[in-house]
Amino acid sequence: MKAPVKIRVNGTPREQEVEPRLLLSQYLRDVCGLTGTHVGCETSICGACTVLLDGKAVKSCTVLAVQADGSEVTTVEGLARDGALHPVQEGFWECHGLQCGYCTPGMIMTGIEILQRSKSPSRAEIRHGLEGNLCRCTGYSHIVDAIQYAARKPGKKGRK
């Protein structure tokens, strides 16, 4: 039996009938076609699937689509405005905060939440904030640089 859900995804209202067991990550990827949200595990540890649910970072592999009914979801595809990158996206590009790119959308969404909580977090605070997101390529230093870069904008500029 399918259940109706109304979810605003990246500003666009969507109404669908979904299976109650459908995960939010599957809803975004398979129903909305937004494949920027990645899935790297089944235990909500890796954080590749992190999205913003009503402004808060959640792991979309452990939220059911029906639980998101009536909510606003932001994915990595919804960050750039009029062709301009979000400051956290810009930071990842400027600071080489990614290599294979698979964990990156989740890292960016978590980075946004870290900056919502603290305007100028220390490196240690950023590292603590990233504990729910795994990266196997970068060794994290450049990711911390990237989030610091975004925190400094528009104070500006350059790498560490």
Binding site: T35, W93, G101, C137, T138, R159
Partner: protein, 788 residues
């Protein structure tokens, strides 16, 4: 800052699609009519398969097909091993299990359904009757008499024995003042790329061609290997590695699932997708390392090393994957490290066990070698009461001694080990660290300093040492518009060569980098290649591009000469302009030349139209990057927790095309090394159940576990390629683990600890603190001091 693009820390051209979430990984592909495959896997490490009942499944809604080994194995070739050893005893590795299963995760059946949920529902409905059999789990027990057998039909668990003798090791050991013996474990690791494996296969019935999109490092090797296994001619097979979410050697393979999914697409005449779960990734994607080594090192009183010897038991797992048997041989080749050692010998006993296969994992055999020799050098210093830095310096070849011939038969291309060590010590503030350690020890704190001076073998590597060719291919085309298309046979998957190769091409052609686009990873676009592994892409793939550009420039000079009514020998090429010497004003540029080359009305009689060239680069030798890592650790006495207080790395990978990318490679490699040193270990229980099947149980480092690194470099060009580059992808995983181990053992030295095996988990370190007498023994024979 250099004048051109090469040498500049440029941000990557591949990043916008990745940070916007619009890049295409294999799971993002959904061709119309797509079917979904899932595999039923063995829950047993070793069992007889008595019965597989699939009747109930076939009737389930959405299920298209259920196939077992009996249905498929005769139709498909076996999973290949490209590096067999002489007299190797190994089983035929069928795509699906037959009447036995040999490891947890061994695929028994495949289900194809209209959607993934239907396939997963069906999975639980297959009934399999297993008769569990004794499992072989411990590689050392496996070679004892009376051990159960992994593959009873082979009559032994020994897959092969291999020896690498170099010089008269017994004579050198006999004349040594001191012989130090230690047993060291190199634990099994799980690569855990963030993107699990997966593939989509699509059969095109009109053309009778097959496309396989797969998360792989080696699309070209797959195109070479797959035709004979799935019975599709090579020229009707297209392999695409789309965006690949990390490999680290675990995607340097041809897996059973790729063979089966390719076959299913043809058999069912529909596109078929299979995406690995994380549980599957931990269980059935190749593991790394897993060696147990008994080492001996013979030295003179002054610290001069005479000989090193090892007997190693290597755990290969149940089956041989692509390069499984070759990995321990790389350990042997690099066992002398960056030292002048007269004689060496390595004997390997490689063993089958009821576990997943081991194979290449970032470093692939070299981390084991670097770890062994660097631990041994510290033990030598400790036993002789010498400074570990002095022992290293004493045994380094001098910069003038390169090319340097090792006892293992390798020729190290170039090196200046002294310079890297010196720089690392300066950056680390060595004297200050010594004082810090002394002060900490006075207060009863456990503070240790560790150094490793490593060398690695990269840019693999001449065809004579590789089973399927060690060259690399590249192609460059100046388009009609003057834009530049670069195609590489290397298959970067996160390393950033779309940027660094564009830097190389733009400089050499004298064009803006914005005009250059680099393509990779699709065998219909890059027909030949030997792909990305062994830190080879820039040294070999970059050179193939340089060679192609040089061919184009030579042709362009002939064309320019015709246009300028001059002799080709009079033509000068500078910053993208061709002109007669002294007459720069009348220069012709690439756009003009390309237009003429394709319109082809004013060409000299012998000149073909077009402006493109391709090249195969066959390197004369491997490259041998090196460096020094310095680590300071402080151990919490109460918990055994190891904290990294300082991390300094100086790596020499030759000239750096893009220092920002080099920094990224080094940082990522060190982080993986810290994972191995402090956290990671793949664990099977006595019955062969995998206990580390998820991120819950297998601890890859988190952001808070990794310190900021202080990185530096020295530059010693390689004579093995015109760019002089050496490769840097694996430096971190080779240089860092021994430095951390040396620091941890140094911290515990006041308690009498001489060696400890990785990973240095809090529990293990706490046990060493509370009972140092139970830590691994180090035997020291001869000279003063005698036995411990």
């Amino acid at each position: 800052m250099p004048k051109g693009y090469v040498g500049r820390p440029m941000k990557r051209v591949e990043d916008p699609r990745l940070i916007k979430g619009v890049a295409t990984y294999v799971d993002d592909l959904n061709p119309p009519g797509l079917l979904h495959a899932v595999f039923l896997r063995s829950p047993h490490a070793h069992a007889r398969v008595r019965k597989v009942d699939t009747r109930a499944v076939r009737a389930m809604p959405g299920v298209i097909a259920v196939l077992t080994g009996a249905d498929l194995n005769e139709k498909l070739g076996p999973v290949p091993c490209a590096s067999p050893m002489p007299d190797q005893k190994s089983p035929r590795h069928t795509a699906l299990a037959g009447d036995r299963v040999y490891f947890v995760g061994h695929p028994v059946a495949v289900i194809v359904a209209r959607d993934l949920a239907a396939a997963l529902d069906a999975l639980d409905t297959i009934e399999v009757e297993y008769q569990p059999l004794p499992a072989v789990i411990d590689a050392e027990k496996a070679i004892q008499k009376g051990s159960p057998l992994t593959h009873p039909e082979l009559g032994t668990n020994v897959a092969y024995r291999w020896s690498l003798p170099g010089g008269d090791v017994d004579a050198e050991l006999a004349r040594a003042d001191r012989v130090i013996k230690v047993r060291m474990l190199h634990q099994r690791l799980t690569p855990m790329a963030m993107e699990p494996r997966g593939c989509v296969a699509s059969w095109h019935p009109g053309e009778e061609t097959l496309t396989l999109w797969t998360s792989t490092q080696i699309p070209h090797l797959l195109r070479t290997l797959l035709p004979g296994l799935i019975h599709v001619p090579e020229n009707k097979l297209r392999i695409v590695a789309p965006e690949v979410g990390g490999g680290f050697g675990s995607k340097l393979n041809l897996y059973a699932e790729e063979i089966v999914v390719a076959h299913l697409a043809m058999r069912l005449n529909a596109p078929v997708k299979w995406i690995e779960t994380r549980l599957e990734n931990a269980a059935v994607t190749t593991h790394g390392r897993d060696q147990i080594g008994d080492y001996e090192i013979g030295v003179k009183k002054d610290g001069t090393v005479l000989a090193v010897k090892s007997h190693t038991v290597a755990d290969l797992g149940a089956y041989l994957q692509l390069l499984t048997p070759a990995i321990p041989t790389l350990t042997g080749l690099m066992l002398c490290g960056c030292y002048k050692i007269k004689a060496m010998r390595m004997d390997v006993t490689a063993v089958h066990t009821n576990k997943m296969a081991t194979d290449a994992y970032r470093g692939a055999g070299r981390p084991e070698a670097a770890y062994a020799i660097e631990r041994l050098m510290d033990l030598v210093a400790g036993e002789l009461g010498l400074d570990p830095l002095e022992v290293r310096r004493k045994n380094f070849p001098k910069p003038g001694e390169f090319p340097f011939h090792t006892a293992t038969g390798l020729v190290y291309d170039s090196g200046n080990y002294q310079a890297a060590l010196k720089k690392a010590l300066e950056m680390a503030g060595w004297e200050k660290l010594l004082k810090q350690r002394a002060a900490a020890r006075k207060q009863g704190r456990l503070f240790g300093i560790g150094v490793s001076t490593y060398v690695e073998i990269c840019a693999l590597g001449p065809s004579k040492i590789m089973s399927a060719g060690g060259w690399e291919w590249g192609s460059v085309r100046i388009e009609f518009s003057g834009k530049v298309t670069v195609i590489t046979g290397a298959t970067p998957h996160g390393q950033g060569q779309e940027t660094s190769f564009a830097q190389i091409a733009a400089d050499r052609l004298g064009v803006p980098i914005e005009d250059v686009v680099v393509y990779r990873g699709d065998t219909n676009v890059a027909p030949y290649g030997r792909d990305t592994y062994g830190s080879r892409a820039t040294a070999l793939g970059g050179t193939a591009i340089v060679m192609s550009i040089d061919k184009i420039i030579a042709k362009a000079k002939v064309l320019a000469a015709a246009l300028l009514k001059a002799n080709p020998k009079q033509i000068v090429f500078e910053a993208g302009a061709f002109f007669v010497k002294g007459r720069r004003k009348s220069a012709v540029d690439w756009k003009r030349l390309a237009g003429e080359a394709y319109v082809a009305k004013n060409l000299p009689p012998d000149l073909e139209p077009g402006l493109e060239a391709s090249s195969f680069f066959e390197p004369p030798n491997c490259t041998f990057p090196f460096g020094t890592h310095v680590v300071a650790v402080e151990i919490d006495k109460d918990t055994g927790q190891v904290g990294i207080a300082k991390y300094v790395a100086v790596d020499d990978c030759g000239p750096q095309v893009n220092p920002l990318l080099v920094e990224g490679q080094v940082q990522g490699g060190i982080a993986q090394s810290i994972g191995q040193a402090l956290f990671e270990q793949t664990v099977y229980d006595e019955g062969g159940q995998l206990l580390t099947g998820e991120f819950m149980d297998y601890a890859i480092p988190r952001a808070g576990d990794i310190p900021d690194f202080l990185l530096g470099s020295t530059v010693t060009p390689s004579p093995s390629n015109p760019l002089g580059v050496k490769g840097v992808g694996e430096a971190g995983t080779i240089g860092a683990t021994p430095a951390i181990a040396n620091a941890v053992v140094d911290a515990l030295a006041p308690l009498g600890v001489k060696h400890l095996d990785m990973p240095f988990t809090p529990e293990k370190v706490w046990r060493a603190i509370t009972n140092p007498g139970a830590t691994p023994r180090v035997t020291s024979v001869g000279g003063k001091g005698g036995k411990r």
